[in-house]
């Protein structure tokens, strides 16, 4: 036997379509509202942005471990994976159809493979409405079956979608991904560079990185950036659910502490 040429197959280096394909059983991938249907955002050109024919969100049907499934994946390389009218409707619509299937006794396993900075600023009002629908649909589907989030891209998940992700049954997170509400740019703009320096990568990963989120119990599994490892985690999540705890406050240091003392007290390395 020859040694494999590559030790790992990166998930983060793939686009949304290839991530969806990677999570579904081989040859089972079927895209819905594919790029050739050209349902693209009509709001971007006037704001100096070239639209993308899938709007940066891919919905794919297929199977996971032989069971009917749907993966929704966002493309962190297109406008930061932001969610506007079309992408938002794709996510909310897939969640609602999965709920309909579960009610009919023919469940569809639903996976959200998100890589997104949040609501798309160029379509903000439509994005925030879509995210409110997504949150509602996640909570409704969870009454019937698990909803699994995979956060293993270059962006991670920020903004309204991080709130939605926290509503999922399980979150599978990679070390390279980040999970936070406000992006570092936004914290720096709103509160100053002494609050958060958006160029300080170790600090950003320290306070929002996958490793911290797993240690806090906010993610059910910490995976390496490796397709087989992530696939195995997704299969495990459906076969042996390990639901995240309830959304209640956990102990944290006194917020009046100086910033660095507070972070050290949380055992975050500076």
């Amino acid at each position: 036997m020859t040694a494999p040429l590559l030790l790992t197959e990166s998930f983060a280096e793939r686009g949304a379509r290839e991530r969806a394909r990677a999570l579904l059983d081989p040859q089972s991938f079927r895209e819905l509202i594919g790029p050739f249907e050209r349902i693209a955002s009509p709001y971007l050109a006037a704001q100096g942005v070239v639209p993308q024919s899938d709007d940066g969100t891919v919905v794919a049907r297929g199977t996971i471990a032989g069971v009917r499934a749907c993966v929704v994946a966002t493309d962190g390389r297109f406008l930061g994976g932001s969610i506007g009218e079309i992408g938002g409707a794709k996510i909310a619509g897939a969640l609602e159809l999965a709920r309909r299937d579960a009610q009919r006794g023919a469940p569809t396993r639903l996976v959200l493979a998100l890589d997104t900075g949040g609501i798309r600023l160029q379509e903000a009002n439509l994005g925030i409405l879509a995210v409110s629908e997504i949150c509602d649909a996640i909570v409704a589907l969870r009454e019937l079956m698990p909803v699994i989030a995979v956060i293993a891209g270059r962006v991670g998940v920020y903004g309204g979608l991080s709130l939605s992700t926290a509503l999922c049954s399980e979150i599978i997170v990679s070390e390279g991904a980040r999970v936070g509400l406000n992006g570092p740019d936004v914290v720096e703009t709103e509160s100053g560079i002494e609050e958060m320096d958006s160029s300080d990568r170790p600090l950003i990963w320290g306070v929002t990185g996958g490793r911290l989120r797993f240690r806090q119990g906010f993610a059910s599994e910490l995976v390496s950036d490796d397709v087989p490892a992530i696939r195995a985690a997704v299969e495990r999540a459906f076969q042996a659910p390990n639901e995240l705890g309830p959304l209640v406050a956990q102990a944290f240091p006194d917020p009046r502490l100086e910033r660095d003392d507070f972070l050290r007290a949380m055992e975050i390395e500076l």
Partner: protein
């Protein structure tokens, strides 16, 4: 930023002498009152100058506010409606909050409102001031019925103009022009209402210090809704069928239809 007085003013006028719900942080107000004989738990987030998180002192939704609103909503007595009074300038922009996990705190209150509504509590929302971003998602936007004051101070958006300019690398002047041309980027309540999520807009004499007539008009509207409580139990998806949304959200409707048509082979 000067802290807004509106949330507290409307909360106090609408709940009167009702006893406050205990065990909440000072920035989360809740009280059980009645409207036209219907039990209503009112919930508001207000500024607290001495809040322990420095970035959540102007009425922002932070760690304590997210979990506090969740506790207030989860504790709603059986049979009571919920009224979210909204004047939230945004979520807390702090590194301590990010480290602790602000997304979970805001998810907690979002989930509380969703479960309450889906569990049969009518959930009404009254937007009296700013309703921005994650803060609005977590406090107000899950209401089954949404009313708002007709006032230029009301701002609904996902990010401040300064931060939008930074993230999109657009000039402030260009952003203002775009907001006029593309309603999806506007920040005013009248434009937001065209997307079908706002059921009623109230013209009031003084949004900062509501008059007796202002309070009476709003209360009358609540009473009307509570007589047909299913109006305040509508799930967000139903907003897509609002008359305005047929045009303003036509693309979202088309995507839903296409997904359904292609879902099964």
């Amino acid at each position: 930023m000067s802290a807004s007085v509106r949330g507290r003013a409307w909360f106090e006028r609408l709940t009167g002498t009702a006893r406050p719900v205990g065990g909440l942080p000072p920035s989360v107000l809740a009280a059980d009152t009645t409207v036209d004989g219907h039990a209503v738990r009112a919930v508001a987030v207000v500024p607290d100058r001495s809040a322990r998180f420095a970035r959540a002192r102007n009425g922002e939704m932070g760690i304590d506010e997210g979990f506090g609103v969740a506790a207030a909503v989860n504790g709603t007595p059986a049979g009571s409606a919920i009224l979210a009074i909204v004047d939230v300038p945004g979520q807390a922009f702090g590194i301590r909050e990010e480290a602790v996990g602000l997304q979970r705190a805001l998810a907690a209150s979002t989930q509380a409102y969703i479960r309450a509504r889906r569990g049969g509590h009518p959930v009404l929302t009254l937007v009296v001031g700013k309703a921005i971003s994650g803060a609005f998602l977590a406090h107000g936007l899950q209401g089954g019925w949404i009313g708002a004051l007709d006032d230029a101070e009301i701002e609904i958006h996902v990010m401040s103009e300064a931060a939008v300019a930074r993230v999109t690398r657009m000039e402030r002047d260009d952003l203002a022009r775009v907001a006029r041309e593309i309603p999806a980027t506007a920040r005013d309540i009248r434009t937001f209402a065209t997307f079908g999520a706002v059921d009623r807009i109230f013209a009031v004499s003084d949004p900062d210090a509501p008059s007796d007539a202002d309070v009476a008009e709003v209360t009358r509207a609540f009473a009307e809704v509570l007589r047909t409580p299913e109006l305040a139990r509508r799930n967000p998806i139903e907003r897509l069928d609002a008359p305005g949304a047929l045009h303003t959200r036509a693309l979202a409707r088309r995507v839903r239809d296409e997904l359904q048509a292609q879902w099964d082979v």
